[in-house]
């Protein structure tokens, strides 16, 4: 487990009124909230090149700088509806993606991820700059947002019931998450569940859903209307592309949610959709041992996880067909088999 520095809590309590105004319209007509889509491509590129862009992503403000075309295009396409926090004098994370200096610029070009001026990772090929940006942002939150218990899990919600889907890479968690979101579930997060130790609620941080390899075409066929960004081949995870967050999820970014289910999803070729109860104690043990920061939070982390599992039903879910899988989730929700909080 990493040693986690303690986050400066004051950095993370952002006034969400600007995002609320983006959804509901400004109370004061003299005030306007800008989103990425309101900037022309050249203005977006200029701001990312010069002073950086303060992007509101869930509860965090991230200042992004980059002149790398794939990063600029990716932000323009996949973060179009995200608010620009123009008046923020600070940002939670300062992120800069740039090529290394020297001959590398011309020979097998690479990209570096800077966080607060430091370089926490080895460079990657320039063609992987956009997924590097997404992975780097995940790392920033997982390392520093210690006011939350952070799980490596997707979180979706419908009808007031949130589902936490932990799972290792390759389990099929992201594919199922993308399918459910395309099927009308709200996305709170594709990768990181943020659980408040104060009240156990989940804070939304919707960001583009990471799809890998065959999952990209599976989602294209399943939901032809969704926007999927360019593919990056030959990454450590294979070919990667990101699905844009639906507008409905973005519009409800300030609505916290209460978890009702913890579901361990696993893709199993040819298997029928099957939901089986799993031991709460085993689930708690897995959650505690695999959370990014449970050991850092100590007793508070354990109690937050224990309270979460106590109020949720826990399941293993096996699936191969996405239509069938989404149907199982919707049927269960419709039949009221989810615990009512």
């Amino acid at each position: 487990m990493f040693a986690f520095p303690t986050a400066h809590s004051s950095r993370f309590h952002q006034d969400s009124s600007r995002r609320r105004e983006l959804r509901e319209g400004p109370k004061d007509r003299s005030m306007t909230i800008q989103s990425i889509s309101s900037l022309s491509p050249s203005e977006l590129a200029r701001q990312l090149r010069d002073q950086g862009l303060n992007l509101g992503i869930g509860p965090f403000v991230t200042r992004i700088q980059s002149t790398i075309p794939s990063v600029v295009r990716g932000i323009r396409l996949l973060y179009a509806g995200y608010p620009i926090e123009k008046d923020s004098t600070f940002a939670d994370f300062h992120v800069h993606l740039a090529p290394p200096r020297g001959l590398r610029r011309w020979f097998r070009p690479q990209v570096l991820f800077f966080f607060d001026g430091h370089v926490p990772f080895k460079p990657l090929p320039l063609a992987q700059a956009y997924p590097f940006f997404e992975w780097g942002l995940n790392w920033c939150v997982a390392q520093y947002a210690n006011q939350y218990l952070i799980l490596h899990a997707a979180v979706i919600e419908k009808g007031g019931h949130a589902v936490i889907m932990p799972g290792p890479p390759g389990s099929g968690k992201s594919t199922l998450c993308a399918g459910l979101v395309a099927g009308g579930w709200r996305l709170l997060s594709d990768e990181l569940a943020l659980i408040s130790p104060q009240d156990g609620r989940l804070t939304p941080m919707p960001r583009p859903v990471s799809l890998k390899n065959e999952s990209i075409d599976v989602i294209r066929k399943f939901a032809p209307g969704v926007t999927i960004g360019p593919e990056s081949a030959d990454t450590t995870k294979g070919t990667v592309a990101h699905m844009k967050v639906p507008d409905e999820s973005m519009a409800r970014v300030d609505e916290h949610a209460t978890a009702a289910w913890v579901v361990y999803a696993r893709y199993d070729a040819g298997a029928p959709a099957r939901l089986e109860r799993r031991s709460k104690a085993q689930t708690l043990l897995h959650i505690v041992r695999n959370a990014f920061n449970c050991s850092l939070l100590g007793e508070r982390g354990f109690q937050t996880a224990a309270d979460l599992i106590d109020t949720c039903d826990c399941y293993d879910f096996t699936y191969s067909d996405l239509d069938q899988a989404v149907g199982v989730f919707d049927t269960l929700l419709d039949e009221g088999l989810l615990p009512i909080s």
């Binding site: 708690l284 007793e299 224990a306």
Partner: protein, 97 residues
């Protein structure tokens, strides 16, 4: 020659154990080590007993058997003989000197 007294065991006083249970499965968080463990009902009863007061293995077996209303037999004794050293290795109990 006098036979040595059997060692006594207890949960160290410097830290606390946090419990969560469902049915007959118990999860315990050790604030001393930061580790979390999954225990069955016998192991949980034994550890909770050592949390309340110290005991040697024979005393512990009697307490666990009485509390869980199970037979005090060789099987239970053998289980606790394996279990308590495991607790010790995990930092959940200490030997009283």
């Amino acid at each position: 020659m006098l036979s040595p007294k059997p060692p006594r065991w207890k949960v160290p006083s410097g830290f606390s154990l946090h419990w969560q249970s469902w049915d007959d499965e118990f999860v315990v968080y050790n604030s001393g080590s930061g580790d979390t463990h999954l225990l069955d009902v016998v192991a949980a009863e034994a550890l909770q007993s050592l949390e309340r007061e110290s005991a040697n293995l024979l005393e512990l077996a009697r307490k666990v058997a009485a509390s869980l209303e199970i037979k005090l037999d060789d099987k239970l004794s053998a289980y606790l003989e394996r279990l308590v050293p495991d607790f010790h290795r995990l930092g959940l109990v200490e030997r009283i000197k």
